[in-house]
Amino acid sequence: MLNQEYPKFEKGSFEGIEISLSEPNVKINLRGKKKEFFTKIGKILSIILPIEPNTSSSNQQYNTLWLSPDEWLVYFNGEDRQLFNNLFNEISKLNFGSVVDVSNQWICINIKGNKTFDLLSSGSPFNYESFKKTKNSVTQTLLNHTDVIIHHKEINEINLFVRRSFSEDLWLWIKDSARFI
């Protein structure tokens, strides 16, 4: 049976870096190209999905991240699954696109501090130079050979999404690396 408990990560505080688990979060994967898909999303979320690569859009409640030209990740704090049900009934059931609840598939780790990007650069092939200057930018890349989605939420603060099965390994790597930055 699926283990729905979140991993128990203790907060880590290092010089210039703070790491914490940012859960529970609801995460919903959206895929679609049809006009009706965008209309329904706009109505339900009151947000326009970002169509520019590597960007995100947010309102007071929801964050939407660009993943590819026809794929987005929506996430928000809490455990309310009502939004998923609305999206599923209005989009998936009517074949306008695909809505998948990936809340248990991804773990959100919050990293903040002025050495955040030094930490990321130490284990990633991605060039963070322009990324770190642009608030609300998004990237999917590798961190310590693990697939991650990084949302640059505020300056020097990111939300990092990692697959649940890799989360413990990456968490340990982050804590270990943070000691040497």
């Binding site: 690569p53 030209p69 092939p125 991605f126 890349t141």
Partner: protein, 91 residues
């Protein structure tokens, strides 16, 4: 190590991509009419050029989209990158 300009995400390190082999191989319209040799030719036989080659690539650790690339296998110089379905920009 070299940089690849993903047509969707922009410039990324090669380690984020995986190569899907030769591009522009057309599937036979009537596979049942082919001999075993012709079918094997379509399925398995690929060019392995030392020089400019047309390849399919996948941004496996990014947007997960497939695209085409014209790459010189001698020095990994990338001549062009274009989306699936688009015509090759160079012959």
């Amino acid at each position: 190590m070299f940089l690849i300009n993903c047509p969707y995400c922009g410039e990324r390190d090669q380690s984020e991509f995986s190569c899907g082999g030769e591009a522009h191989i057309i599937r036979p319209k009537q596979p049942t009419e082919l001999s075993d040799d012709q079918w094997a030719e379509y399925l398995f036989m690929r060019k392995n050029i030392k020089g400019v080659q047309f390849e399919r690539w996948n941004h496996a650790h990014g947007c997960r989209k497939w695209f085409n690339m014209v790459r010189d296998t001698k020095n990994d110089k990338i001549h062009a990158v274009y989306k699936m379905g688009e015509k090759p920009p160079v012959e």
